[in-house]
Structure formats: structure tokens, C-alpha cells
């Protein structure tokens, strides 16, 4: 059994959905390169007023009361993605019908356990499509092509029991079979107006007059055309994209956030329908003078919470604002399995992932990008070589580490502070640091360290551990001598 849904006048429906002000007006959609733009479709009111497909833009504009609107292919692609998601909810095997944008055929064998009988399924399917903002006709027939013809030719829901296809198609006009203009003219000349009349003709006679294509049309009219289904295997990730072109250039971030909220919502709905979460959001802002501003927000854990994602986007865009006014925005998402973790019964062992992301974004804004995170030691001989990595605490787990004695911590001077040193027999005896005169009370060293001698970044120094005493203070420090710059500096204080 196949269920086919067909949103009639798809392009016009999309235009009305995206621009609510068009809903109560007569409008015609135009497409093509200016000035050779032609009307591709029009809504019911515009058709009544005289607009029809194939007119030039100028002709359409002369009809009073009809608004002429340019078609936006991005909106249609986005609407198709919505319909595709709806279709995927009802069957794993779906096929997009050729020559009818927005029309999908679903193989519903074995779906009765989930959605009830055919009529119930058709009803639920239509309601889902209407909830997504589209009007559609639904047909449930055993034959694939018969279902397509019925959905295109009959309003609302049609359910045809097996074996009654020809009967159901009998009264449908011939255009549902999608004949070429020439064939349609021939049939019109013969006085054939409906599928039933075409089916009543003898097959061999029809073939002898219109050729082999007549056989196929005859089979279609009888509802007996064979069809091999090629189910779509769409890339779900590719469908996670939203685009919007702005009527007026936007400078401020606040109005942009309203649009981003709507787009994030749509993406989240799509992702949630597959029980997934958003692992990455990529915003592409098309700016004035052809520039592009791209930002990637990558939460440490996949999120399915709209306010959190939106706050992250806001903080990121505030930290890295675009350099010019925004003309168009695109939002891409990447999905991943949502994060699950067992926390403490009464107290959280670690910050909540969503709140942590926002906290980190706020801290990055306050302190700087490279100054917030976890630290990772580098495999390097240079003392204190490290890199900052994003803070993502692993799941709470107790770890047993071998118990050593307490380690003396070194407080590092970043950058190292230059000091004056008085030497006796190549060993420091006095240190002048921050306006204070320290006497070297005890000394250990020198420890000669060097590295990366093979490259430009080679380094070497002599390190000394010294106990310094002034009148009132005493401190243990590590001082170093750089033989290349012949400069002494304090590396840090033991504390």
C-alpha cells in the first residue's frame, strides 16, 4: 500500500507561509532572469483575477489587485525539508514524486500497528502536514501511480481498497496523468476528458495511434501501471540548514536574535524528531559588499535546549561581532546523540552541561578566548609547556591516585620578570627585584636546560633555586639566566 501526499500549488503555499502578509491577497510568483521574468504560479484569488502561469511579469503587474512576488528557491528547499521530515515520521521508505515538488509517496506496509488502518493513517498524515503549515491531499492506494494521480486530482483524503483503482480514477481529469502538451491536445480533439474515457479505449488501437507511450498512459488510467520504488536515503545532516534573506540590512544583533531563535527552533524540531541533539551550530552571515562572517558554536556536549543554544550564539556573536551590516543569514546544524549522565542523588557532581556552556561563553567574553578552559600539558622539555583546551569535565568518577607527599607549587611569573643580579664567582649573591634588595641566603644550581636547537625557536638557560632574604621578607624563588640575551629574570616563586 502506498500513501501519497500532494500539497497543491506548492510554490504559492510556501510563499504564503514565509510571508504572512500575502495570505489574504491575490499574488503571482515570478521567476527567471530580469527582465525576462515569467509567472510560474499564482494563488486561487490571482487565478480568478486572470493571472496564469507563463505570463510575463509586466502582464501580471497590469492585473489590478494582484501582487507580483519573486520566488525564493531557498524557502522552497527549507519547506521541502519540513515535508520530508513529516514523511519520514510515517514510513522509513519514502520516495519523492517526479514533476510534482512537495509530493511524497510513502510505503505504508506494516505501519497499521503504529498508525491504525489506512484511513486513520491518512488522517494523521494530513493533520501532521497541516500542523507544519501546508495544505495537502492524501491518497492511499495499492498502486503507486494511481495514488499519485488521486492525490493530484482529488481534494482531501482518498482511500481506495485494492482492486478498485480504475473505478476511483474514472472521473479524474486527464491532466493528472501528466501527458505532454501534444498528447493532451490529441486527447482533447478525440473528446476524451477523463481517465475513465481513456481507460475505455482499446489498448492496441491507442498504441497504434499515439505510439508506445499510449500503453503507459492506458495503464496509468486503469491504475495498473507497474512502479519500482526507489526509497530516498537522504542525508539527514544536509537537511539541517536554514536560510533567510533580510528585506533590510541589519546592524544590531538583537533583531538578528529573533530570526536566529526561529531558525534554531526549526532545526531543533527536526533534530528532536530523530531523538538527537545539536552538537554544532554554524552561523554564516552574508555582509554588505560581499563579505562573509562565519562563527561556529560548538557546545561541549550535544544540547537540545533552545534557550541555551540561543544564549551561546548571542554570546559568541557579541564577542565576535560582524564588521558590516547583515544582508542574509544561514544557520547550519550538526546532530549527535544527546548527553546522558548519572549525577549525584542530592548534589550535582559537576555543573549542568547547558548552564556550563553559557557560563564558559560568559567567562570567555570577560577574560578572553584563550584564558578559560582546562589545561593540558605538552609533551615538551620546556618547563611549563601547556595548552588550553575547552573545559569538559568527564563523567563523575572516583579515581585513585598513588599517594605521594605534598608537592611544592611554583607560582610562575608570566611573562618572566627581569631582575638585576650581583655575581660572585659566577653565582648570584644579591638580587634586585621590584625595588627591593634581596640577599641570596642559599643557592642550588645552575641547572642548564635547552631545547629546540634545530629550529628558530631554540632556547637555553641556566636555572637557579635561591632562598632570598630582605629586611622583612624571605622567599624561595627560581631565577634563570638567559645566555643569549645575557639577562637575568625570575621564573617563579615556590609557594
Amino acid at each position: 500500500m502506498y500513501a501519497v501526499f500532494h500539497p497543491p500549488n506548492f510554490a504559492a503555499q510556501v510563499a504564503a507561509k514565509q510571508r504572512p502578509e500575502l495570505r489574504k491577497r491575490a499574488f503571482a510568483l515570478v521567476d527567471g532572469e530580469p527582465p525576462a521574468e515569467v509567472v510560474i504560479t499564482a494563488n486561487q484569488a490571482a487565478r480568478t483575477a486572470g493571472a496564469e502561469a507563463g505570463m510575463t511579469k509586466l502582464q501580471a503587474e497590469t492585473i489590478p489587485g494582484v501582487a507580483v512576488v519573486r520566488r525564493i528557491p531557498e524557502d522552497e528547499a527549507s519547506a521541502l525539508a519540513v515535508l520530508h521530515t513529516v514523511a519520514c515520521m510515517f514510513s522509513p521508505r519514502i520516495e519523492s514524486v517526479e514533476n510534482a515538488p512537495g509530493t511524497y509517496a510513502l510505503d505504508i506496509r506494516g505501519m497499521s500497528g503504529l498508525f491504525g488502518d489506512e484511513a486513520q493513517l491518512a488522517n494523521k498524515l494530513r493533520q501532521r502536514i497541516m500542523a507544519a503549515g501546508f495544505l495537502a491531499n492524501v491518497a492511499v492506494v495499492q498502486n503507486f501511480d494511481a495514488a499519485v494521480c488521486l492525490a493530484r486530482g482529488r481534494d482531501r483524503i482518498s482511500v481506495v481498497p485494492p482492486g478498485h483503482e480504475a473505478n476511483a480514477l474514472r472521473d479524474l481529469p486527464l491532466h493528472v496523468l501528466n501527458p505532454t502538451a501534444e498528447q493532451a491536445e490529441t486527447f482533447h480533439a478525440w473528446g476524451i476528458r477523463t481517465c475513465g474515457q481513456l481507460a475505455a479505449l482499446a489498448e492496441t488501437d491507442l498504441i497504434s495511434r499515439v505510439g508506445q507511450v499510449g500503453k503507459r498512459l492506458h495503464l496509468l488510467a486503469r491504475g495498473a501501471a507497474p512502479h519500482l520504488m526507489f526509497p530516498l536515503e537522504p542525508s539527514f545532516e544536509e537537511s539541517l540548514a536554514e536560510r533567510m534573506e533580510l528585506d533590510f540590512p541589519v546592524e544590531m544583533l538583537e533583531p538578528l536574535l529573533f530570526l536566529l531563535a526561529r531558525m534554531t527552533d526549526t532545526l531543533l524540531e527536526r533534530v528532536k524528531s530523530k531523538a538527537l541533539a545539536i552538537a554544532l551550530l554554524r552561523v554564516v552571515l552574508h555582509l554588505d559588499r560581499g563579505k562573509e562572517h562565519e562563527r561556529i558554536v560548538r557546545p561541549a556536549l550535544p544540547l537540545e535546549d533552545k534557550p541555551t543554544l540561543l544564549k551561546l550564539l548571542q554570546l559568541d556573536l557579541e564577542t565576535h561581532p560582524p564588521s558590516a551590516t547583515i544582508l542574509k543569514l544561514e544557520l547550519y546544524a550538526q546532530s549527535a546523540a544527546p548527553y546522558r549522565a548519572q549525577h549525584g542523588l542530592f548534589l550535582p557532581q559537576a555543573p549542568e552541561p547547558g548552564r556550563l556552556e553559557i557560563l564558559l561563553a560568559r567567562l570567555r567574553k570577560l577574560l578572553g578566548e584563550e584564558r578559560v578552559g582546562s589545561v593540558e600539558l605538552k609533551d615538551d622539555h620546556r618547563p611549563n609547556a601547556f595548552r588550553m583546551v575547552p573545559f569538559a569535565p568527564p563523567a563523575p568518577k572516583q579515581s585513585e591516585q598513588p599517594s605521594f607527599s605534598v608537592a611544592t607549587a611554583l607560582r610562575v611569573c608570566r611573562p618572566p620578570q627581569a631582575v638585576s643580579v650581583a655575581l660572585v664567582e659566577d653565582a648570584p649573591v644579591r638580587v634586585f627585584w621590584e625595588g627591593q634588595r634581596y640577599v641570596v641566603h642559599e643557592i642550588a644550581g645552575p641547572w642548564r636546560v635547552s631545547g629546540q636547537w634545530w629550529s628558530e625557536a631554540n632556547w637555553c638557560r641556566e636555572e637557579w633555586d635561591v632562598r632570598l632574604k630582605a629586611e622583612s621578607a624571605e622567599r624561595v624563588c627560581r631565577i634563570a639566566f638567559d645566555p643569549r640575551s645575557r639577562c637575568w629574570y625570575v621564573q617563579g616563586t615556590y609557594d
Binding site: P351, R355, V406, A407, R467
Partner: protein, 257 residues
């Protein structure tokens, strides 16, 4: 004439909708304690530093404040909880942290920087301000078992100018978030907001060449003096003498011997 108990009951009943138990003293639960990983210090602190309170450690340079802080953070991260280190002077050495046994993945390191606000780089205010704001954000977010606010290199004249309201706010937030706030300073500045106040001092000096002919810095002994412990269930009027703990800290290379 109604007895005081009756008046009290009457007042409490009238205010019951607005303030529950207005005239009854709130029974304070003994706070949960985090072991610091130093047995000598834990013995003096009756188990460790309190959760949901401010612990202040004041002392001059080279008196073991950072070593103590890292040891406490190491013990907490090893229990599986997350910690944060707010570094006013950007002085934390990741090598020292790793040597102390800190699980680096569970430690959020916030490094205040002077470059963010070019105009006032000569003063420590930009760094301090950033660090205080960051601590505020961390406490509001919650979920961190301990937050170390490292102001060891901030001069006393600057640290004492931090408004007392900041510490009051931290105390309340720490209590609500059940976070242990560890404050490392040169001079006490949180005053009465700190539930536990410690003073760090150097203990007796171990000479560099104590273990052989080659002079080598192998470690230090420090003293931690308990000045005040608010959570101690002792008599208020009897002033207890401060208790001291002496503890050793060793350098990495001395472990190899």
C-alpha cells in the same frame, strides 16, 4: 500578663505566612568537609575545609598557600567533582598542579589578564575586577565543588579595598551552591565572611645541602595556624588558642630519590 513564650508564639503565628519561625534560631547543620590531602592539616581542621563556606588562607610569599590550595583541589578532583581556579595573577603552574595530583580535566582554570583593558594595566584593578566577576559567575552557575580565588600576588593595600559586600555575596552564593570557596591572600580581607580563617607561615628551614654535598632545593616545611573556625561547636566566649599544624612539601625531583 502573658508569658514571653506566649508572646513569641503569637508573633511567630502572625508572621508565619511571611517568615517561617521568625524568632526561633535556625539550627545550623554541620557542613560537609573536604579533606585537604594533608593529614596534619586535616587533624587541626577536624577533617578538612568546609563546603558551602569561605575559607581564607593568608600569608606572605613562600609560605605554602598555593601548595595547600593545590593539594585540596587535587583531593576534590580525585573524588570526581569539578573545581575552578580563578587566577588573578596568571601564576598557576600546570606542572605543579599535575604534580600535586590534580585531575586537570576537572579543573577549570580562569586566567585574568591585564591586556583586556588597556587603560588601567598599571593597576591590578582590571585583573582583580575580572577575577571577582568570574568568581561571581561561577558561584551563580553552581555545580563546582570548590572554587579557589588566588589573590596571592595582590598587594594587601589593594586586597583590603575589595568591598565587604562582595564577600557577603560570595558567602551567601557559596552556601546556596554548596561550594567551598578557598581564598588565597597575603592579608586577611574577607573578615567575618570567612567561616574558616587560616594563617600560613614558614616553619623551620631545611638547608639546601642537607642531603649531600650538592646543594639542592628539596622542599620546605610550612606552618598553618588556625585563626578562626566558625563551624566549630565550641563555647563562644572562651577564646581558644589558635592551633598549628606543621606540614612538609617536597619538590618533584626529591620524589625520585
Amino acid at each position: 500578663m502573658p508569658s514571653s513564650a506566649a508572646i513569641r508564639l503569637q508573633v511567630e503565628t502572625t508572621l508565619a505566612n511571611r517568615v517561617p519561625a521568625a524568632l526561633t534560631l535556625k539550627i545550623k547543620q554541620a557542613p560537609e568537609l573536604f579533606a585537604t590531602g594533608i593529614a596534619e592539616v586535616d587533624a587541626v581542621l577536624n577533617g578538612g575545609i568546609p563546603r558551602g563556606c569561605i575559607t581564607e588562607i593568608a600569608g606572605a610569599a613562600s609560605t605554602g598557600k598555593t601548595s595547600f590550595g593545590l593539594s585540596a583541589v587535587a583531593a576534590i578532583t580525585q573524588s570526581g567533582a569539578a573545581c575552578a581556579w580563578v587566577d588573578v595573577s596568571d601564576a598557576l603552574s600546570p606542572e605543579s598542579a599535575a604534580a600535586a595530583g590534580v585531575e586537570l580535566k576537572r579543573l577549570l582554570w580562569l586566567r585574568a589578564s591585564a591586556e583586556r583593558q588597556q587603560k588601567i594595566t598599571s593597576k591590578p584593578w582590571s585583573r582583580l575586577e575580572q577575577a571577582l566577576k568570574a568568581t561571581d559567575l561561577l558561584l551563580q552557575a553552581g555545580g563546582f565543588a570548590a572554587i579557589v580565588l588566588d589573590m596571592s600576588d595582590v598587594l594587601p593595600q589593594h586586597a583590603t579595598r575589595i568591598p565587604l559586600s562582595t564577600w557577603y555575596r560570595y558567602r551567601l552564593s557559596a552556601e546556596q551552591a554548596r561550594t567551598a570557596v578557598l581564598l588565597l591572600t597575603q592579608t586577611p580581607c574577607a573578615n567575618s565572611c570567612a567561616a574558616l580563617s587560616l594563617r600560613s607561615e614558614p616553619a623551620h628551614v631545611r638547608p639546601f645541602n642537607s642531603n649531600g654535598e650538592t646543594a639542592l632545593y628539596e622542599g620546605q616545611r610550612y606552618t598553618l595556624v588556625r585563626e578562626r573556625n566558625r563551624n566549630e561547636g565550641s563555647m563562644i566566649h572562651q577564646k581558644k588558642p589558635p592551633m598549628r599544624a606543621e606540614w612538609p612539601a617536597e619538590t618533584l625531583w626529591s620524589r625520585v630519590r
